[in-house]
Symmetry: C2
Subunit: 264 residues, 2 copies
Protein backbone atom coordinates (compact mmCIF):
# COMPACT_ATOMS: atom_id res chain seq x y z
CA UNK A 1 0.00 0.00 0.00
CA UNK A 2 1.04 3.63 -0.56
CA UNK A 3 0.84 5.77 2.53
CA UNK A 4 1.15 9.51 3.21
CA UNK A 5 1.39 11.26 6.57
CA UNK A 6 0.16 14.76 7.38
CA UNK A 7 1.59 16.12 10.64
CA UNK A 8 -0.36 19.09 11.98
CA UNK A 9 0.91 21.53 14.60
CA UNK A 10 2.36 25.03 14.84
CA UNK A 11 4.60 23.82 17.69
CA UNK A 12 6.48 21.66 15.18
CA UNK A 13 6.88 24.44 12.61
CA UNK A 14 8.37 26.81 15.21
CA UNK A 15 10.86 24.12 16.24
CA UNK A 16 9.50 23.85 19.79
CA UNK A 17 8.55 20.20 19.28
CA UNK A 18 10.55 17.65 17.30
CA UNK A 19 8.15 15.48 15.31
CA UNK A 20 9.03 11.91 16.23
CA UNK A 21 5.58 10.56 15.35
CA UNK A 22 6.30 10.28 11.63
CA UNK A 23 9.50 8.31 12.24
CA UNK A 24 7.69 5.95 14.61
CA UNK A 25 4.85 5.41 12.14
CA UNK A 26 7.19 5.11 9.12
CA UNK A 27 9.08 2.25 10.78
CA UNK A 28 5.88 0.30 11.24
CA UNK A 29 4.42 1.00 7.81
CA UNK A 30 7.72 -0.07 6.22
CA UNK A 31 8.15 -3.17 8.37
CA UNK A 32 4.99 -4.62 6.84
CA UNK A 33 6.13 -3.93 3.28
CA UNK A 34 4.17 -0.72 2.65
CA UNK A 35 5.60 2.55 1.31
CA UNK A 36 5.54 5.93 2.96
CA UNK A 37 5.58 8.22 -0.07
CA UNK A 38 5.54 11.63 1.57
CA UNK A 39 5.33 13.34 4.96
CA UNK A 40 4.01 16.90 5.13
CA UNK A 41 4.05 19.07 8.23
CA UNK A 42 1.67 22.03 8.30
CA UNK A 43 0.32 24.45 10.89
CA UNK A 44 -3.03 24.64 12.68
CA UNK A 45 -4.77 26.54 9.88
CA UNK A 46 -8.21 25.67 8.53
CA UNK A 47 -7.57 26.43 4.87
CA UNK A 48 -4.12 24.88 4.80
CA UNK A 49 -5.44 21.65 6.34
CA UNK A 50 -8.35 21.62 3.89
CA UNK A 51 -6.13 22.20 0.84
CA UNK A 52 -3.61 19.65 2.09
CA UNK A 53 -6.10 16.79 2.35
CA UNK A 54 -7.34 17.54 -1.18
CA UNK A 55 -3.77 17.64 -2.48
CA UNK A 56 -2.82 14.32 -0.85
CA UNK A 57 -6.03 12.67 -2.07
CA UNK A 58 -5.19 13.72 -5.63
CA UNK A 59 -2.22 11.32 -5.46
CA UNK A 60 -4.57 8.41 -4.54
CA UNK A 61 -2.64 6.83 -1.68
CA UNK A 62 -4.21 3.78 -0.05
CA UNK A 63 -3.85 5.29 3.41
CA UNK A 64 -3.52 8.84 4.71
CA UNK A 65 -2.58 9.14 8.37
CA UNK A 66 -2.77 12.53 10.07
CA UNK A 67 -1.50 13.33 13.54
CA UNK A 68 -2.22 16.39 15.68
CA UNK A 69 -4.79 19.12 16.17
CA UNK A 70 -7.50 16.95 17.75
CA UNK A 71 -7.80 18.56 21.20
CA UNK A 72 -10.57 20.55 22.87
CA UNK A 73 -9.16 24.03 22.24
CA UNK A 74 -10.16 26.52 19.60
CA UNK A 75 -6.92 26.19 17.63
CA UNK A 76 -7.23 22.42 17.27
CA UNK A 77 -8.95 22.42 13.89
CA UNK A 78 -7.91 19.23 12.12
CA UNK A 79 -11.42 17.75 12.00
CA UNK A 80 -12.94 20.98 10.73
CA UNK A 81 -10.19 21.36 8.11
CA UNK A 82 -10.56 17.81 6.86
CA UNK A 83 -14.36 18.09 6.76
CA UNK A 84 -13.95 21.23 4.64
CA UNK A 85 -11.43 19.55 2.33
CA UNK A 86 -13.71 16.54 1.85
CA UNK A 87 -16.79 18.70 1.41
CA UNK A 88 -18.52 16.99 4.28
CA UNK A 89 -20.37 18.49 7.21
CA UNK A 90 -19.19 18.26 10.79
CA UNK A 91 -21.86 16.40 12.71
CA UNK A 92 -22.19 15.43 16.34
CA UNK A 93 -21.28 11.74 16.47
CA UNK A 94 -23.10 9.89 19.23
CA UNK A 95 -20.45 7.20 19.68
CA UNK A 96 -17.68 9.80 19.88
CA UNK A 97 -19.77 11.82 22.33
CA UNK A 98 -20.18 8.82 24.60
CA UNK A 99 -16.48 7.95 24.42
CA UNK A 100 -15.55 11.48 25.47
CA UNK A 101 -18.22 11.62 28.17
CA UNK A 102 -17.11 8.30 29.66
CA UNK A 103 -13.48 9.35 29.62
CA UNK A 104 -14.16 12.67 31.43
CA UNK A 105 -16.43 10.94 33.92
CA UNK A 106 -13.63 8.54 34.74
CA UNK A 107 -11.02 11.31 34.99
CA UNK A 108 -13.31 13.17 37.36
CA UNK A 109 -14.13 10.09 39.45
CA UNK A 110 -10.48 9.19 40.03
CA UNK A 111 -9.66 12.82 40.84
CA UNK A 112 -7.53 13.60 37.77
CA UNK A 113 -9.78 16.45 36.65
CA UNK A 114 -11.91 18.76 38.74
CA UNK A 115 -14.44 19.93 36.19
CA UNK A 116 -17.39 17.59 35.74
CA UNK A 117 -19.70 17.14 32.77
CA UNK A 118 -19.62 17.85 29.07
CA UNK A 119 -18.65 21.44 28.34
CA UNK A 120 -18.77 23.07 24.90
CA UNK A 121 -15.03 22.44 24.45
CA UNK A 122 -15.32 18.76 25.33
CA UNK A 123 -18.34 18.32 23.09
CA UNK A 124 -16.38 19.93 20.21
CA UNK A 125 -14.24 16.77 19.93
CA UNK A 126 -17.38 14.75 19.10
CA UNK A 127 -18.13 16.74 15.93
CA UNK A 128 -16.77 14.55 13.15
CA UNK A 129 -16.92 14.81 9.35
CA UNK A 130 -20.02 12.97 8.08
CA UNK A 131 -19.34 9.29 7.47
CA UNK A 132 -16.60 9.05 10.11
CA UNK A 133 -16.01 6.05 12.33
CA UNK A 134 -14.73 7.25 15.73
CA UNK A 135 -11.72 5.38 17.16
CA UNK A 136 -11.38 4.91 20.93
CA UNK A 137 -8.52 6.81 22.58
CA UNK A 138 -7.23 4.51 25.33
CA UNK A 139 -4.64 7.02 26.55
CA UNK A 140 -6.50 10.33 26.35
CA UNK A 141 -9.86 11.87 25.58
CA UNK A 142 -10.01 12.96 21.92
CA UNK A 143 -11.27 10.08 19.76
CA UNK A 144 -9.48 9.34 16.51
CA UNK A 145 -11.35 9.10 13.24
CA UNK A 146 -11.47 6.75 10.27
CA UNK A 147 -13.02 7.97 7.00
CA UNK A 148 -13.19 6.40 3.56
CA UNK A 149 -12.92 8.74 0.60
CA UNK A 150 -12.96 6.91 -2.73
CA UNK A 151 -10.30 4.21 -2.56
CA UNK A 152 -8.39 6.00 0.20
CA UNK A 153 -8.79 5.39 3.92
CA UNK A 154 -7.99 8.38 6.10
CA UNK A 155 -6.97 7.91 9.73
CA UNK A 156 -7.01 11.04 11.88
CA UNK A 157 -4.94 10.48 15.02
CA UNK A 158 -4.04 12.67 18.02
CA UNK A 159 -0.62 14.32 18.18
CA UNK A 160 0.30 13.32 21.74
CA UNK A 161 2.69 10.41 21.05
CA UNK A 162 1.31 8.01 23.67
CA UNK A 163 -2.24 8.50 22.37
CA UNK A 164 -1.21 8.26 18.71
CA UNK A 165 0.84 5.10 19.29
CA UNK A 166 -1.89 3.24 21.17
CA UNK A 167 -4.43 4.07 18.49
CA UNK A 168 -2.03 3.17 15.66
CA UNK A 169 -1.26 -0.23 17.22
CA UNK A 170 -4.93 -0.96 17.85
CA UNK A 171 -6.39 0.16 14.56
CA UNK A 172 -3.76 0.60 11.83
CA UNK A 173 -1.27 -2.20 12.56
CA UNK A 174 -3.92 -4.90 11.93
CA UNK A 175 -4.58 -3.41 8.47
CA UNK A 176 -0.86 -3.17 7.68
CA UNK A 177 -0.47 -6.80 8.72
CA UNK A 178 -3.48 -8.02 6.79
CA UNK A 179 -2.15 -6.56 3.55
CA UNK A 180 1.48 -7.09 4.45
CA UNK A 181 4.17 -7.18 1.80
CA UNK A 182 7.79 -7.97 2.45
CA UNK A 183 10.44 -5.47 3.39
CA UNK A 184 14.11 -6.34 3.73
CA UNK A 185 16.81 -4.03 5.07
CA UNK A 186 20.34 -5.20 5.77
CA UNK A 187 23.64 -3.43 5.89
CA UNK A 188 27.02 -2.82 7.47
CA UNK A 189 29.60 -0.12 8.09
CA UNK A 190 32.95 0.15 6.40
CA UNK A 191 35.89 2.48 6.61
CA UNK A 192 39.09 3.24 4.74
CA UNK A 193 37.23 3.83 1.46
CA UNK A 194 35.13 6.88 0.80
CA UNK A 195 31.60 6.97 -0.56
CA UNK A 196 32.79 8.29 -3.91
CA UNK A 197 35.32 5.46 -4.34
CA UNK A 198 32.72 2.75 -3.81
CA UNK A 199 30.05 4.58 -5.87
CA UNK A 200 30.86 3.07 -9.31
CA UNK A 201 30.76 -0.46 -7.83
CA UNK A 202 27.41 0.28 -6.19
CA UNK A 203 26.08 1.46 -9.57
CA UNK A 204 27.20 -1.80 -11.18
CA UNK A 205 25.52 -3.82 -8.42
CA UNK A 206 22.31 -1.86 -8.86
CA UNK A 207 22.31 -2.98 -12.48
CA UNK A 208 23.00 -6.56 -11.47
CA UNK A 209 20.21 -6.49 -8.84
CA UNK A 210 17.59 -4.05 -10.20
CA UNK A 211 15.10 -5.18 -7.55
CA UNK A 212 17.32 -3.87 -4.74
CA UNK A 213 17.97 -0.36 -3.57
CA UNK A 214 21.61 -0.07 -2.52
CA UNK A 215 22.60 3.11 -0.73
CA UNK A 216 25.63 4.50 1.05
CA UNK A 217 25.51 7.13 3.79
CA UNK A 218 28.62 8.87 5.06
CA UNK A 219 28.97 9.03 8.83
CA UNK A 220 31.16 11.65 10.34
CA UNK A 221 33.32 10.47 13.16
CA UNK A 222 36.95 10.13 14.10
CA UNK A 223 37.46 7.84 11.17
CA UNK A 224 35.68 8.17 7.86
CA UNK A 225 32.93 5.63 8.22
CA UNK A 226 30.31 4.84 5.58
CA UNK A 227 27.11 2.87 6.06
CA UNK A 228 25.96 0.65 3.24
CA UNK A 229 22.33 -0.36 3.30
CA UNK A 230 20.37 -2.63 0.98
CA UNK A 231 16.59 -2.55 0.95
CA UNK A 232 13.87 -4.18 -1.06
CA UNK A 233 10.10 -3.94 -1.04
CA UNK A 234 7.98 -6.94 -1.97
CA UNK A 235 10.65 -8.83 -3.92
CA UNK A 236 9.91 -12.57 -3.92
CA UNK A 237 13.45 -13.74 -3.20
CA UNK A 238 14.45 -10.40 -1.62
CA UNK A 239 16.30 -11.90 1.31
CA UNK A 240 18.38 -14.21 -0.88
CA UNK A 241 19.20 -11.44 -3.37
CA UNK A 242 20.10 -9.04 -0.55
CA UNK A 243 22.48 -11.58 0.97
CA UNK A 244 24.09 -12.18 -2.43
CA UNK A 245 24.52 -8.45 -3.07
CA UNK A 246 25.98 -8.00 0.42
CA UNK A 247 28.56 -10.72 -0.29
CA UNK A 248 29.45 -9.09 -3.63
CA UNK A 249 29.96 -5.64 -2.16
CA UNK A 250 31.90 -6.94 0.85
CA UNK A 251 34.31 -8.70 -1.50
CA UNK A 252 34.86 -5.47 -3.43
CA UNK A 253 35.49 -3.50 -0.23
CA UNK A 254 38.05 -6.04 0.97
CA UNK A 255 39.77 -6.00 -2.45
CA UNK A 256 40.07 -2.21 -2.15
CA UNK A 257 41.61 -2.67 1.33
CA UNK A 258 38.59 -1.26 3.12
CA UNK A 259 37.66 -2.48 6.58
CA UNK A 260 34.22 -3.96 7.24
CA UNK A 261 32.58 -3.37 10.63
CA UNK A 262 29.31 -4.40 12.14
CA UNK A 263 26.51 -1.90 12.35
CA UNK A 264 25.58 -0.40 15.65
CA UNK B 1 10.06 35.99 5.61
CA UNK B 2 8.09 32.87 4.70
CA UNK B 3 10.18 29.72 4.58
CA UNK B 4 9.56 26.16 3.40
CA UNK B 5 11.77 23.12 3.90
CA UNK B 6 12.05 20.12 1.58
CA UNK B 7 13.74 17.13 3.21
CA UNK B 8 14.94 14.55 0.69
CA UNK B 9 15.88 10.96 1.49
CA UNK B 10 14.42 7.47 1.25
CA UNK B 11 16.11 6.62 4.57
CA UNK B 12 13.74 9.03 6.31
CA UNK B 13 10.61 7.68 4.61
CA UNK B 14 11.43 4.10 5.63
CA UNK B 15 11.92 5.22 9.24
CA UNK B 16 15.61 4.29 9.32
CA UNK B 17 16.65 7.88 9.98
CA UNK B 18 14.77 10.37 12.16
CA UNK B 19 14.81 13.77 10.48
CA UNK B 20 16.19 16.15 13.08
CA UNK B 21 17.42 18.69 10.49
CA UNK B 22 14.05 20.35 10.04
CA UNK B 23 13.62 20.86 13.80
CA UNK B 24 17.12 22.34 14.07
CA UNK B 25 16.51 24.68 11.14
CA UNK B 26 12.98 25.61 12.29
CA UNK B 27 14.30 26.78 15.67
CA UNK B 28 16.73 29.15 13.97
CA UNK B 29 14.31 30.47 11.35
CA UNK B 30 11.74 31.14 14.10
CA UNK B 31 14.24 32.72 16.49
CA UNK B 32 14.81 35.52 13.99
CA UNK B 33 11.09 36.17 13.52
CA UNK B 34 10.56 34.28 10.26
CA UNK B 35 7.86 31.67 9.61
CA UNK B 36 8.32 28.08 8.59
CA UNK B 37 5.11 27.44 6.66
CA UNK B 38 5.56 23.84 5.64
CA UNK B 39 8.02 20.94 5.79
CA UNK B 40 7.77 18.21 3.17
CA UNK B 41 9.76 14.98 3.22
CA UNK B 42 10.08 13.10 -0.06
CA UNK B 43 12.20 10.28 -1.46
CA UNK B 44 15.20 10.27 -3.79
CA UNK B 45 13.12 10.35 -6.97
CA UNK B 46 13.83 12.66 -9.89
CA UNK B 47 10.24 13.44 -10.85
CA UNK B 48 9.01 13.81 -7.30
CA UNK B 49 11.82 16.28 -6.49
CA UNK B 50 11.12 18.19 -9.69
CA UNK B 51 7.36 18.40 -9.05
CA UNK B 52 7.97 19.33 -5.41
CA UNK B 53 10.13 22.35 -6.16
CA UNK B 54 7.54 23.62 -8.65
CA UNK B 55 4.77 23.10 -6.11
CA UNK B 56 6.62 24.94 -3.33
CA UNK B 57 7.55 27.80 -5.68
CA UNK B 58 3.86 28.21 -6.57
CA UNK B 59 3.31 29.37 -2.96
CA UNK B 60 5.97 32.10 -3.36
CA UNK B 61 7.93 31.65 -0.15
CA UNK B 62 10.90 33.99 0.38
CA UNK B 63 13.20 31.06 1.11
CA UNK B 64 13.16 27.38 0.24
CA UNK B 65 15.72 25.25 2.05
CA UNK B 66 16.28 21.68 0.93
CA UNK B 67 18.40 19.11 2.74
CA UNK B 68 19.68 15.75 1.46
CA UNK B 69 20.51 13.92 -1.74
CA UNK B 70 23.70 15.85 -2.56
CA UNK B 71 26.28 13.06 -2.42
CA UNK B 72 28.41 11.41 -5.11
CA UNK B 73 26.27 8.31 -5.65
CA UNK B 74 23.81 7.62 -8.42
CA UNK B 75 20.75 7.84 -6.17
CA UNK B 76 21.63 11.33 -4.89
CA UNK B 77 19.58 13.29 -7.39
CA UNK B 78 18.51 16.48 -5.68
CA UNK B 79 20.45 18.80 -8.02
CA UNK B 80 19.18 17.03 -11.11
CA UNK B 81 15.60 17.07 -9.79
CA UNK B 82 15.71 20.76 -8.94
CA UNK B 83 17.30 21.64 -12.30
CA UNK B 84 14.46 19.76 -14.00
CA UNK B 85 11.82 21.50 -11.87
CA UNK B 86 13.30 24.93 -12.61
CA UNK B 87 13.73 24.13 -16.30
CA UNK B 88 17.44 24.83 -16.10
CA UNK B 89 20.34 22.77 -17.39
CA UNK B 90 22.87 21.08 -15.16
CA UNK B 91 26.25 22.57 -15.99
CA UNK B 92 29.72 21.91 -14.70
CA UNK B 93 30.45 24.74 -12.27
CA UNK B 94 34.12 25.63 -12.10
CA UNK B 95 34.04 26.97 -8.55
CA UNK B 96 32.19 23.90 -7.29
CA UNK B 97 34.65 21.68 -9.18
CA UNK B 98 37.60 23.36 -7.48
CA UNK B 99 35.98 23.14 -4.04
CA UNK B 100 35.44 19.41 -4.49
CA UNK B 101 38.92 18.85 -5.94
CA UNK B 102 40.59 20.72 -3.07
CA UNK B 103 38.59 18.84 -0.49
CA UNK B 104 39.48 15.41 -1.97
CA UNK B 105 43.13 16.42 -2.33
CA UNK B 106 43.20 17.30 1.34
CA UNK B 107 41.41 14.12 2.40
CA UNK B 108 43.93 12.12 0.39
CA UNK B 109 46.93 14.06 1.73
CA UNK B 110 45.99 13.54 5.37
CA UNK B 111 45.27 9.88 4.72
CA UNK B 112 41.49 9.96 5.18
CA UNK B 113 40.78 8.65 1.69
CA UNK B 114 42.90 6.36 -0.44
CA UNK B 115 41.57 7.19 -3.89
CA UNK B 116 43.23 10.20 -5.48
CA UNK B 117 41.90 12.54 -8.16
CA UNK B 118 38.55 13.53 -9.58
CA UNK B 119 36.49 10.51 -10.57
CA UNK B 120 33.22 10.67 -12.48
CA UNK B 121 31.28 10.35 -9.20
CA UNK B 122 33.18 13.18 -7.55
CA UNK B 123 32.81 15.39 -10.60
CA UNK B 124 29.04 14.73 -10.55
CA UNK B 125 28.69 16.94 -7.46
CA UNK B 126 30.01 19.92 -9.48
CA UNK B 127 27.13 19.82 -11.99
CA UNK B 128 24.77 22.52 -10.74
CA UNK B 129 21.58 24.01 -12.18
CA UNK B 130 22.47 27.01 -14.39
CA UNK B 131 22.66 30.23 -12.39
CA UNK B 132 23.68 28.51 -9.14
CA UNK B 133 26.13 29.93 -6.63
CA UNK B 134 28.05 27.05 -5.00
CA UNK B 135 28.39 27.16 -1.21
CA UNK B 136 31.53 25.81 0.48
CA UNK B 137 31.07 22.66 2.58
CA UNK B 138 33.44 23.06 5.54
CA UNK B 139 32.57 19.66 6.99
CA UNK B 140 32.35 17.46 3.92
CA UNK B 141 32.80 17.42 0.17
CA UNK B 142 29.49 18.13 -1.61
CA UNK B 143 29.06 21.90 -2.08
CA UNK B 144 25.71 23.45 -1.27
CA UNK B 145 23.88 25.62 -3.77
CA UNK B 146 22.10 28.95 -3.77
CA UNK B 147 19.73 29.79 -6.64
CA UNK B 148 17.36 32.68 -7.18
CA UNK B 149 14.07 31.90 -8.91
CA UNK B 150 11.80 34.93 -9.19
CA UNK B 151 11.47 36.43 -5.72
CA UNK B 152 12.42 33.16 -4.03
CA UNK B 153 15.90 32.16 -2.92
CA UNK B 154 16.53 28.42 -2.88
CA UNK B 155 19.24 26.94 -0.67
CA UNK B 156 20.20 23.34 -1.39
CA UNK B 157 22.04 21.86 1.57
CA UNK B 158 23.52 18.42 2.31
CA UNK B 159 21.62 15.97 4.52
CA UNK B 160 24.47 15.01 6.86
CA UNK B 161 23.59 17.11 9.93
CA UNK B 162 27.12 18.41 10.66
CA UNK B 163 27.53 19.54 7.04
CA UNK B 164 24.05 21.07 6.86
CA UNK B 165 24.46 22.94 10.16
CA UNK B 166 27.85 24.46 9.28
CA UNK B 167 26.51 25.65 5.93
CA UNK B 168 23.28 26.98 7.45
CA UNK B 169 25.18 28.97 10.08
CA UNK B 170 27.63 30.36 7.51
CA UNK B 171 25.22 31.26 4.75
CA UNK B 172 21.59 31.34 5.92
CA UNK B 173 21.83 32.71 9.47
CA UNK B 174 23.29 36.05 8.23
CA UNK B 175 20.27 36.47 5.92
CA UNK B 176 17.82 35.57 8.68
CA UNK B 177 19.53 38.10 10.96
CA UNK B 178 19.66 40.83 8.35
CA UNK B 179 15.89 40.63 7.79
CA UNK B 180 15.13 39.66 11.37
CA UNK B 181 11.70 40.15 12.82
CA UNK B 182 10.80 39.51 16.42
CA UNK B 183 9.64 36.21 17.85
CA UNK B 184 8.49 35.79 21.44
CA UNK B 185 7.72 32.48 23.10
CA UNK B 186 6.99 32.17 26.81
CA UNK B 187 5.06 29.69 28.87
CA UNK B 188 4.67 27.54 31.92
CA UNK B 189 3.23 24.24 33.12
CA UNK B 190 0.18 23.80 35.28
CA UNK B 191 -1.67 20.91 36.81
CA UNK B 192 -4.93 20.21 38.58
CA UNK B 193 -6.99 21.67 35.71
CA UNK B 194 -7.44 19.92 32.39
CA UNK B 195 -6.96 21.44 28.95
CA UNK B 196 -10.70 21.45 28.31
CA UNK B 197 -11.44 23.36 31.54
CA UNK B 198 -9.02 26.15 30.70
CA UNK B 199 -10.05 26.25 27.01
CA UNK B 200 -12.90 28.83 27.27
CA UNK B 201 -10.60 31.22 29.18
CA UNK B 202 -7.87 30.79 26.57
CA UNK B 203 -10.44 31.64 23.87
CA UNK B 204 -11.38 34.82 25.70
CA UNK B 205 -7.73 35.80 26.06
CA UNK B 206 -7.16 35.21 22.37
CA UNK B 207 -9.89 37.74 21.69
CA UNK B 208 -8.34 40.18 24.15
CA UNK B 209 -4.87 39.73 22.60
CA UNK B 210 -5.49 38.98 18.92
CA UNK B 211 -1.77 39.47 18.16
CA UNK B 212 -0.82 36.50 20.35
CA UNK B 213 -1.11 32.81 19.73
CA UNK B 214 -2.00 31.08 23.00
CA UNK B 215 -1.86 27.32 23.01
CA UNK B 216 -2.15 24.49 25.51
CA UNK B 217 -0.54 21.09 25.14
CA UNK B 218 -1.40 18.17 27.39
CA UNK B 219 1.56 16.28 28.80
CA UNK B 220 1.09 12.76 29.97
CA UNK B 221 2.78 11.92 33.22
CA UNK B 222 2.02 10.78 36.72
CA UNK B 223 -0.05 13.91 37.23
CA UNK B 224 -2.10 15.57 34.52
CA UNK B 225 0.17 18.36 33.43
CA UNK B 226 -0.62 20.92 30.74
CA UNK B 227 1.82 23.28 29.07
CA UNK B 228 0.61 26.73 28.17
CA UNK B 229 2.64 28.57 25.58
CA UNK B 230 2.22 32.08 24.19
CA UNK B 231 3.93 33.07 20.98
CA UNK B 232 3.97 36.12 18.76
CA UNK B 233 5.66 36.96 15.47
CA UNK B 234 6.70 40.50 14.73
CA UNK B 235 4.36 42.23 17.19
CA UNK B 236 5.76 45.62 18.22
CA UNK B 237 5.05 45.33 21.92
CA UNK B 238 4.96 41.52 21.80
CA UNK B 239 6.99 40.99 24.96
CA UNK B 240 4.84 43.35 26.99
CA UNK B 241 1.59 41.83 25.68
CA UNK B 242 2.87 38.30 26.29
CA UNK B 243 3.75 39.15 29.89
CA UNK B 244 0.31 40.70 30.43
CA UNK B 245 -1.47 37.67 28.95
CA UNK B 246 0.66 35.35 31.08
CA UNK B 247 -0.37 37.25 34.21
CA UNK B 248 -4.04 37.09 33.20
CA UNK B 249 -4.02 33.35 32.59
CA UNK B 250 -2.02 32.59 35.74
CA UNK B 251 -4.61 34.48 37.80
CA UNK B 252 -7.39 32.41 36.23
CA UNK B 253 -5.55 29.14 36.90
CA UNK B 254 -5.01 30.06 40.55
CA UNK B 255 -8.69 31.05 40.90
CA UNK B 256 -9.65 27.61 39.57
CA UNK B 257 -7.33 26.03 42.19
CA UNK B 258 -4.79 24.89 39.60
CA UNK B 259 -1.12 24.66 40.44
CA UNK B 260 1.46 26.59 38.41
CA UNK B 261 4.89 25.06 37.85
CA UNK B 262 7.98 26.18 36.03
CA UNK B 263 8.74 24.74 32.65
CA UNK B 264 11.53 22.24 32.26
Amino acid sequence: MDVEFIIIGNEILIGKTLDSNSNWMAKRVTKYGHRVRRVTTIGDDLDIISDMIKDVLSRNPDLIITSGGMGPTFDDMTLEGIAKGLNRELKLDEHAYNMIKTSYEKAHRIGLLKLEGMTKERKKMAYLPEGSVPLPNTRGTAPGVKIKQGETTIFILPGVPAEMKAMFLNVITPILKEKAGKFIEKGFLFEGIGESQIAPYVSKLEHKYPQLWIKTHPRIGLSVEVELSITSFNVDNGEELTDKALMDIKKIILTLNGKIKNRK
